[in-house]
Symmetry: C2
Subunit: 199 residues, 2 copies
DNA sequence: TAACAATTTGAACCTTGAGTCAATTTTTAA
DNA sequence: TTAAAAATTGACTCAAGGTTCAAATTGTTA
């Protein structure tokens, strides 16, 4: 890849980062392309050189989030941890990834329903992959009697809801760091799963 | 209150219900006043007889939600339950109230940031009242050694996140009823709070 | 240095939806 | 039964923002 191509890729990434931040702060509709462009010292026309539409931009933000989450899954899968430690790791990585500089958690939280069908289909498939992997961890824990019998889908939704909501309240000025919150959430959300005889 | 006033109040409530449902389904921006009116077999002009603006309508939806939640608090406060049972009750009532026919959970989840300052100030005050009451339950539980020491605000946010997220996935066609989910959530979210010697 | 490619500009177009209001219809009260 | 009040209509206005694109600028290559 030439320097020119690298710089183009960097400009594209900057557009995504800025879009994600403004989508998070203001919502999909209230974050305008004019504003995204101004933050980057461009005009709207320039943004359209890199994206085909505002929907495309939103989709690329979501896709980035899902790709990062799926990369986390790869790492955790290779770790050979027992199910409880593995699930805790997934929760921590989920929180830290989506609360990264991209602010992707609030993007995925607040605007995935804004995605038109042709885009949301792709995101839903990736989300299903992600949640199916988590379901596999829980089922493995249940079958090994480390976890108690629970309705797996409900538990996943409960965990996702708690984790994703962090984008709505977390502040760097708060008394706990993101890592501490991630650890606390992981412990808090896995504890009720443990079967009695593995306490 | 005359019959005419009762019917006017009922029409006003129907507008709020329909608005809440469409705000939940489509988001604040994509739910148009034209559409809300059509659902009620009116035109937009008629809606403006009952509301002053779309923001006013959104505010009234949020206000209804907060008032219902604060009513729940009154009931629970009077119940003299111990903190763990009281917190479980609050969680169950929270879930059942916001997932009522109004679909208010997804209104409050997906659009409270859309509220302009003059409206959101009122909602934030009510939400603070609500969350302060829950914080009081948790602190009482900690001081009585029923609950272990936890960062109270983080726990409240965790619980609210999990509970509010239900509006994003719950379907009446699922295998569990709303009440069963409420009970499961209450148990799951309070269990990790229990101190070791009160198990 | 000039031709070409990449990138950017900014004005214009178009659609959408919030909000308005005079006229009309419906309901109520005297 | 009529006048007044309440409620509704629907056409219109206007602003906002997504999208387009010809022209211009900047960067690269021969």
């Amino acid at each position: 890849m030439s320097y020119r191509e690298e710089r183009a890729a960097e400009r594209r990434l900057n557009i995504l980062k800025t879009a994600a931040r403004l989508f998070s702060e203001k919502g999909y509709h209230d974050a305008t392309l004019d504003e995204i462009a101004r933050e980057l010292k461009y005009t709207k026309g320039s943004i359209y050189y890199y994206i085909s539409s505002k929907q495309d931009l939103l989709f690329q933000c979501h896709d980035m989030a899902m790709n990062l989450l799926l990369e986390n899954i790869e790492k955790v899968r290779d770790s050979e941890l027992p199910p409880d430690a593995m699930l805790k790791e997934v929760i921590k990585e989920h929180i830290e990834t989506l609360m990264s500089e991209f602010n992707l958690v609030t993007v995925t939280l607040g605007s995935d329903y804004e995605l038109e069908d042709k885009y949301s289909d792709i995101i839903i498939k990736k989300r299903d992959l992600y949640e199916n992997f988590i379901a596999g961890i829980i089922r493995d824990g249940i079958s090994r009697r480390i976890f108690r019998e629970v309705p797996v889908k409900v538990v996943i939704n409960l965990i996702m809801g708690a984790a994703n909501w962090i984008g709505r309240w977390y502040s760097e000025e708060g008394p706990m760091s993101l890592q501490e919150i991630g650890q606390f959430y992981a412990d808090y959300l896995v504890t009720p799963l443990m079967s009695r005889n593995s306490a």
